[in-house]
């Protein structure tokens, strides 16, 4: 029966299914059994009884079977009835007009049954499909709600963890200011606190990058403003180096998320100050090729360990002889942020020494003039 429910059988009954073959043979058997029974009972009941029995069988078959077998049953039982029951028996001739009417009734009933069945089945199938779609939609809605809810929970949790972690750091910072600058112990606490702050922020940023909740908000900006925002949090570390910035003068206004890009550059600059010996130059070069902004950050440190150019951006990767401290997250975050902005980052050792990081970022441009 399940086959009969499928819409393909309903709409185009040409491919005869196994179930339909079964129905044909069942129909034939049924007609045979009923004909034999009626034949036995004929002396007591008369030929009209046989006709009614056949009709009932057709109607019942119609409620369960397909159109073909029902029609076949109608034809066969009509012929059987005509041949064996209507006088004159054993001929296909019909004498009486009421037998004629009865004979036509067979076909009319059978045909309307077939028609009704087809319509009924089609409606059933449509209903079933509708129901299925509804369930699917409901499930989808449910799943979306669940996702939104878990996203919200995740964010609330992250917010409260962030708050819990950052508050003591902020308190230490303010308290240290109260102690005054003169105390060398206070200076050590301050350094450690800054380090702690950086670690906490890295972990929180990494979580954000990984949750894919990050949506860049591009706006027109001046590359100088981005660089300013990138250098500001690293001022202390950068004091030991000379920062040389080239290529920014000729750049037009760019449409990008300046906060995210500043964060990427900030991470790269921080890295450079950690690996390059103090007193060396750190260079930033900006260039625009078509709609792609290219930024190069180069230091004059030892360069990258051979073959680590890709591993570098993996979470928690730390180069074999890198200085102590650091989480191994800075570059992973940088790459995550660049990719969130549809850009990318790569690294290599500069032919003349030192590590060089290259950022590619698709941007909209318009002349600043």
């Amino acid at each position: 029966m399940s086959d009969a429910r499928s819409p393909s059988v309903q709409v185009s009954p040409t491919p005869v299914s196994l179930a339909e073959v079964g129905q044909y043979s069942c129909g034939l058997t049924l007609v045979f059994v009923l004909a034999s029974t009626c034949w036995v009972l004929l002396p007591y009941t008369g030929d009209l009884f046989a006709a009614l029995v056949f009709l009932m069988a057709i109607v019942l078959a119609g409620t369960r079977w397909n159109r073909g077998p029902v029609l076949m049953m109608a034809v066969v039982s009509a012929l059987v009835w005509d041949y064996f029951f209507i006088p004159p028996q054993f001929t296909l001739n019909i004498d009486k007009p009421q037998d004629m009417v009865m004979f036509s009734l067979f076909f009319i009933v059978a045909l309307s049954m077939g028609h009704l069945i087809t319509r009924l089945r089609a409606r059933e199938a449509a209903l079933a499909q509708h129901h299925q779609e509804r369930e699917h939609l409901l499930e989808l809605k449910h799943r979306t709600e669940m996702l939104a809810e878990s996203e919200r929970l995740h964010r609330t949790l992250l917010d409260s963890v962030a708050h819990e972690l950052k508050t003591p750091i902020a308190i230490i910072r303010t308290a240290l200011d109260g102690l005054g600058q003169g105390n060398p112990y206070a200076k050590e606490i301050e350094t450690a606190n800054r380090r702690l702050q950086r670690i906490v922020e890295s972990f929180l940023e990494m979580t954000q990058v990984e949750s894919e909740a990050l949506e860049p908000q591009p706006d027109w900006c001046e590359i100088g403003d981005v660089l300013h925002a990138a250098t500001k949090p690293n001022q202390q570390e950068l004091a030991a180096h000379t920062l040389r910035i080239t290529g920014t003068e000729d750049l037009p206004l760019l449409r990008l998320d300046s906060r995210l890009l500043a964060q990427v550059l900030g991470n790269l600059l921080h890295n450079a100050t950690r690996y390059a010996p103090s007193g060396t130059d750190i260079e930033i070069h900006a260039a625009l090729a078509g709609n792609t902004l290219e930024l190069r950050v180069r230091d004059h440190g030892p360069g990258l360990p051979l073959g680590s150019e890709d591993q570098l951006f993996e979470k928690f990767y730390r180069a074999p002889d890198s200085p102590t401290g650091g989480t191994g997250l800075g570059l992973a975050i940088a790459r995550g942020l660049m990719r969130a902005m549809k850009g990318d980052i790569e690294a290599h050792t500069h032919p003349e020494g030192g590590a060089e990081f290259v950022l590619h970022l698709p941007v909209k441009t318009r002349s600043a003039a």
Binding site: R173, T174, C221
Partner: protein
């Protein structure tokens, strides 16, 4: 002696801020949550409010909105990093400036001083920021006594920044005051004019500092 009201849920933070402020001669009152903060504000009539945006219960933004219904006391917002949209919302709902936790006391005190300098009162037709002078009567600007040639838009822009000298002004606030929301892509125009202004002011005058995702601040160098 000015009165400061601290609204922050962290007791230790309140205690520290109280020490810092009292050492600078402030009289300090405090509240651990928003509703209480509003009551304290009504009762003590502080000269400046330090408001933590991450309050439990009634959040800082809501406190600010309620406060602004009846008071124009200068408000300094304390917030963590990565909450730029909330900062902008706070600024556009009447906060005067913000500091990002963790902050240094020097930065905090500087901000407090700036926002307590009464918001520009139009009793004088002249605004002075360091070497920069704006003559609102004649629409003329000068830098270190030398006249600055500004277009009307540049003048209007510089006026907004100078009126809020030392304080952050959000991009929307600038655009509302200078263009009254009439340009199609206002932020682009804003950047272009800021660019021109920076070039005209040069290295010697006050700097126009951008804070990504928030706005601009005119800093007297």
């Amino acid at each position: 002696m000015s009165k400061a009201l601290i609204i922050d849920d962290e007791q230790q933070m309140r205690r520290l801020l109280r020490m810092v402020l009292e050492s600078r001669g402030y009289e300090v009152c405090e509240a651990a949550e928003g509703q209480l903060g509003l009551q304290e504000a009504a009762f003590h009539r502080p000269d400046v409010v330090l408001l933590d945006l991450g309050l439990p219960g009634m959040n800082g933004l809501e406190v600010l909105k309620r406060l602004r219904e009846w008071s124009d006391v200068p408000v300094l917002v304390l917030s963590v990093r990565d909450k730029e949209t909330i900062k902008v919302e706070a600024l556009e709902n009447g906060a005067d400036d913000y500091v990002t936790k963790p902050f240094g006391t020097a930065e905090l005190l500087a901000r407090l001083t700036v926002i307590q300098r009464r918001r520009f009162t139009r009793q004088s037709a002249e605004i002075v920021v360091g070497e920069l002078k704006l003559d609102l009567l004649h629409h003329e600007a000068s830098l270190d006594e030398a006249p600055l040639k500004l277009t009307p838009t540049e003048f209007a822009l510089l006026k907004v920044l100078a009126e809020h000298a030392g304080r952050i002004v959000t991009q929307n606030q600038i655009m509302k005051q200078v263009w009254a929301g009439q340009t199609s892509d206002p932020s682009e125009g804003l950047r272009v004019h800021i660019n021109h202004l920076r070039k005209k002011i040069g290295e010697s005058g006050p700097r126009i500092v951008n804070e990504p995702g928030i706005g601009y601040r005119l800093e007297d160098s």
